[in-house]
């Protein structure tokens, strides 16, 4: 493991302190917790809280700020945060209009946020939530853990953030989220694995010439391992999977997110974006919004994910485009 670190046990604590220092005046940390909250308070408006394990930087703390999240709860690396900490975040985020939770669909995240919601109930804070499950690499089924929540979550932050800033009520945000999430689908590819600092070795193995389609943001297994392909071929595979999942027709309106998994440089991300562009044009889709960058990473994994959001509602596009002031959304 070749990393710029001190004690691997302290990575989250030190990282959060570094983050708060870097964004002094705009965010703060609730002492003794992994909760980052914005100093800007939007009184009378719904608070948004997201979170999960650490290792996905800039998610989720990088989206805390005016126009997006009120607070983020950062667990240990790849480990869901605990209900007491989520409760602290909820309390901070509550400005009298209730709090909305954005939860990625992992057993641990779902249960810890559930418990936090129950605790908040007991303190008479109105809490609603949405479970994001955009990773189409996983078979969906009500009898299993279902699809994972991955990079599409960032678009949920953005859109709900704009809706909350606009003053939408908790019920309106809940309704918006419930319509939005089924329209977001993501699929990724990894070319090299991530190393959790405390573990000290890569979470899986890929040969020098191999890549794997469908790997999750914690290194969960994907659906196919192959010799490494060109960017164009990878784009073709991912777009084909998304096409199957969306069953789109010419003229449909979409937003696109190309997400780097941590160690993949922007150079490759833009080349891949260029290939995606050609394919979506060929499909006749109208792409009204695009975003490229490291937004939902997997520590130092190399790879890319492609997210499409079907813009069923004109308002979603406006929410996506609304300027914000957060560390990780330019």
């Amino acid at each position: 493991m070749k990393k710029i670190l001190n004690d691997p046990k302290n990575v989250v604590d030190e990282m959060l302190n570094g983050f708060v220092y870097a964004n002094e005046g705009k965010v703060e940390r609730i002492e003794g917790t992994g909760v980052i909250y914005r100093t800007f308070q939007d009184e009378g408006k719904v608070g948004l809280v997201s979170g999960g394990g650490s290792g996905h930087e800039p998610s989720h703390a990088g989206f805390v700020g005016e126009g997006m999240l009120s607070a983020a709860v950062c667990g240990e690396v790849f480990t869901s945060p605990t209900p007491d900490q989520i409760l602290e975040a909820i309390k901070k985020a509550d400005q009298g209009a209730g709090v909305f939770l954005i939860v990625k669909n992992y057993t641990g995240d779902v249960m810890n946020f559930d418990m936090a919601q129950e605790l908040a109930d007991m303190e008479d804070i109105k809490v609603e939530k949405v479970i994001v499950d955009d990773d189409i690499a996983v078979e969906d089924s009500t009898y299993t853990a279902g699809r994972r929540g991955v990079a599409g979550t960032v678009l949920v932050h953005k859109i709900l953030g704009a809706a909350a800033a606009e003053g939408k009520t908790l019920e309106e945000i809940k309704a918006l989220a419930d319509r939005l999430v089924p329209n977001i689908k993501t699929i990724g590819v990894a070319v090299s694995p991530a190393t959790v600092p405390e573990v000290g070795k890569p979470g899986f193995q890929l040969e020098e010439d191999e890549m794997e389609y469908g790997i999750g943001i914690h290194g969960e297994p994907g659906y196919r391992r192959e010799k490494i392909k060109t960017s164009k071929e990878i784009a073709e595979e991912l777009v084909a999977q998304l096409k199957k999942a969306f069953n789109w027709k010419r003229g449909d309106r979409y937003a696109v997110l190309v997400n780097g998994l941590g160690a993949t440089p922007l150079m490759e991300q833009y080349i891949f974006t260029n290939d995606v562009h050609a394919l979506l044009d060929r499909e006749g889709l109208a792409v009204d919004f695009k975003k490229v960058g490291n937004l939902m990473t997997s520590i130092d994994m190399a790879g890319i994910s492609l997210t499409l959001l079907k813009l069923e509602d004109e308002g979603w596009l406006a929410f996506l485009k609304q300027p914000v002031s957060v560390p990780a959304w330019a």
């Binding site: 945060p81 605990t82 209900p83 057993t107 853990a145």
Partner: protein
């Protein structure tokens, strides 16, 4: 007999087993999960031990509830809320009848299932709790019962939790949460709580 003292001793023995087997549990979790089950629980039982040793806990309910809060606040992941929900439900039931271990553990199982929605056969800790509950009810809990339940998860295909992403590839591996639950019940047996 279950008392505040024996309950604390039970949980202490559990904590020791977790610490001893921390690496093993994480290794099991590496095979079919994300490799953190051992460190998650070790973090939790350390906090639990600190709270329990602080003393001042007079009832079984107090002990169980204190343990629950420590685990909930420290473990995270999937196992944190599950063990936490189990212990909270057990604490509640202990408020009804401190001595009835079978009912207390059954309440714990209900708590786990309410939280995690897993049934028997999905390759989770539930596959240990269910046979243990049955055995407790008939006064027949033994090491073998526990061991068989734990080993039984090996041939199951996971359909809940992180291991479910592996589908068929999860077969052939023990479930880490089942193994850690096995430790909990071994500690119960060894503590003499069930002896008349």
């Amino acid at each position: 007999m279950l008392t505040a003292e024996t309950a604390a001793a039970w949980l202490h023995a559990f904590a020791e087993k977790i610490n001893e087997n921390k690496a093993y549990l994480s290794e099991l979790d590496s095979a079919i999960g994300d490799g953190d089950h051992g460190s998650n629980l070790a973090r939790g039982v350390q906090a639990m031990e600190e709270k329990l040793q602080a003393g001042g806990l007079e009832t079984v309910q107090d002990v169980l509830k204190t343990a629950a809060m420590a685990l909930i606040g420290k473990v995270g992941g999937a196992s944190g809320p599950l063990y936490g929900s189990a212990l909270i439900a057990m604490a509640k039931q202990a408020g009804e009848d401190e001595k009835d271990v079978a009912s207390i553990v059954k309440a714990g199982l209900d708590g786990i299932q309410k939280r995690g929605k897993a049934e028997k056969g999905e390759k989770t800790m539930v596959d240990v709790w269910v046979p243990v509950c049955e055995a407790l009810k008939s006064g027949a809990l033994t090491k073998e019962v526990i061991q068989n339940a734990v080993d039984g998860t090996k041939e199951m295909k996971a359909t809940k939790g992180r291991a479910s992403y592996l589908g068929e590839r999860s077969v052939g591996h023990l479930d880490p949460g089942a193994v850690s639950s096995g430790y909990l019940f071994e500690a119960l047996l060894e503590g003499g709580i069930l002896d008349e």
